[in-house]
Symmetry: C2
Subunit: 366 residues, 2 copies
């Protein structure tokens, strides 16, 4: 994408290179198919039913969701195979879960605590449906999940015994491994977690609770999860867009893999300072927790971005003189795609260098 050709768009805005996006979409789908594993991509990356439909059309078995709103909007759009990847606990959320189950009978959730299993049984009973539940297993991230094999077996048993719950297997997500830069290091760390997970899977099988589904993995670990890991399905999200963070990760052992498809278009709105031009993309236009954006187009080589407030950023070009002028367009690469997409209402789709469509980010918001 060239920033210069994208006139007429209100900025800051998200722009998506459709050709690159479609190549990323097809690449992950093809890899999962070749590995004989299922793909349940994570909707938290895009929060868009338009994109979810394309993922399903490309062979995904369903969509992973982390917020109830994501799942509700996906269900209303007819997206099948929804998995809620974080325990649903608050009373208000459990009420919504019951309504969601009525709309999406193949819905699955995760649980990591007996109290929550009892709550889920009550929700499913009131709905008169059966709710699929995965035992959430901590594989080193230290976040949600049971922390030992005995707890996993006990929880799986309680799910199986609940009349309105269906014990469907396990979830084991290692978010902390996704950004380990080198393939070999990531593989070594994943092997440690696979060993740990393997013991739990064995304990479940020995207790006559063999998991049908073993769900986990993200974009960073996808290559090794598909080739070697103990998963029946993976949940990557960022592979569609890529971002500055994943640009620094060797996702594959050898080949180049996924490419940057998502940009943030901005305009220079002030250029009076000698050392930096000011653009209309600041800390409300992109994620801020993963460091600064970098640039895809429109700035001299070596230019860097700095946050300058809610709606302003600086382009520091170095060198003498200010090469950018008021009205110039620049294209940034978001530091982290998920929380960047979450800040926008639309993704402008670019094909042949021109905006051709705008997809709604319809599952965002609280």
């Amino acid at each position: 994408m060239r920033a210069a050709s994208l006139g007429g768009l209100a900025t800051p805005c998200l722009v998506l290179d459709l050709a690159v996006f479609e190549a990323n979409l097809a690449r992950m789908a093809g890899r999962a198919k070749a590995a004989g594993k299922a793909l349940r991509p994570h909707a938290k990356a895009h929060k868009s039913t338009e994109i979810a439909r394309r993922q399903i059309a490309a062979g995904a078995v369903g969509l992973s969701c982390v917020t109830l709103r994501e799942a509700e909007v996906m269900a209303q759009a007819g997206v099948p195979g929804l998995l809620l990847t974080s325990p649903v606990v608050p009373t208000a959320a459990l009420e919504r879960l019951g309504r969601l189950l009525a709309e999406a009978p193949d819905l699955m959730v995760v649980a990591d605590h007996p109290t929550n299993v009892a709550q889920l049984e009550q929700v499913a009973a009131v709905s008169g449906r059966t709710l699929g539940v995965l035992v959430d297993i901590d594989v080193g991230q230290g976040r949600t999940g049971v922390i030992d094999a005995a707890s996993a077996v006990a929880l799986a048993k309680s799910i199986e015994q609940a009349p309105h719950l269906r014990y469907a297997g396990v979830q084991a997500y290692y978010g902390h491994l996704q950004h380990v830069p080198a393939y070999a290091d990531r593989l070594a760390q994943a092997r440690t977690q696979w060993d740990r997970l393997g013991s739990t899977l064995n304990a479940l099988r020995e207790a006559d609770l063999p998991p049908t589904v073993v769900s986990g993995g993200g974009t960073g670990s996808s290559s090794l999860d598909l080739a070697i890991g103990p998963f029946t399905e993976i949940q990557p999200g960022s592979y569609l867009f890529m971002d500055r963070q994943y640009g620094a990760v060797s996702i594959d052992e050898a080949e180049a893999g996924f490419a940057s498809a998502l940009g943030i278009l901005a305009h220079v709105v002030s250029a009076n300072q000698p050392d930096c031009a000011v653009i209309d993309a600041g800390l409300k236009a992109m994620a801020t927790e993963a460091g600064p954006a970098d640039f895809l187009d429109g700035v001299p080589d070596g230019a860097t971005y700095k946050f300058m407030g809610d709606e302003h950023g600086g382009v520091v070009c170095g060198g003498p003189g200010q090469p950018l002028q008021v009205g110039d367009r620049v294209l940034l690469r978001p530091p982290h795609c998920d929380p960047t997409v979450n800040l926008h209402d639309l993704i402008h789709v670019v094909e042949g260098g021109r905006p051709v469509a705008a997809w709604r980010i319809d599952a965002r918001g609280y």
Copy 2:
């Protein structure tokens, strides 16, 4: 506000202590009135027409806005006295500005470059209206604004000579001073900028271009801006809510001043780890560029927050054992209110310990 009494709300969500909010609202309005200066509070902090109406009712002369969307939504709601505080440059934005001017004839904008003045004149001419323009002056922030008195005079002259523009004065905003912790340090740094601004104001007066409006100042500098500074009006926003950052700033020389009115309500969704309980408020529920949130209620003294992904955060209580249980409610104080509010669609209003209303954050989004 007590977290325990706020059951029934879907989390994460924003909650506003109405009594504290109203006290903050009245305090700033009263101070401006006592100082004989106008208040044009910044809508970027709340992006809510409901709150804007309350600010107008409390005596504000209008609202400052930084995005066109903020101004458009405010105009549609009948909010008067809108000032766009950043140069409007992109072609698509200028087209929208023309339509906005037709709806909000008392609209003002800022400019810091002759090219932009020519664009604004064209917009106003096409609309058949007169557009008020302030010369934006850099007062040490190094962002937008002209950087010397000669440029200010030249720009003011070009505005005055443009048939459809009205030279209304200047804007001089020092965002970089807002969070200087000690009142005396902030005052010393402000004096340097007032001297600089004073030279420019004198140059404008000598050129027969006396500024009617001198707009600037934020929550952090409000006390000294009202008492001593060269402003005719101030643009504070955060004073309504306060946040962790402003909690560390002595806004006033002596008295306690403004108080925390805004919280983020969250539930513990997992508590299997010995060292941290996991809540459903992560990096999509609050600003991340200003460090972690802290807590208003629901956790033991000394507990700290850590980000654990898009939709998860950790409550680290220290000490032995895990005092929090699945389903417990906690109330966080956002690290930075503006980009936190921007992530939500509603502010739940709490009165007498109970949610009594939900105000829409209707001017958010791109």
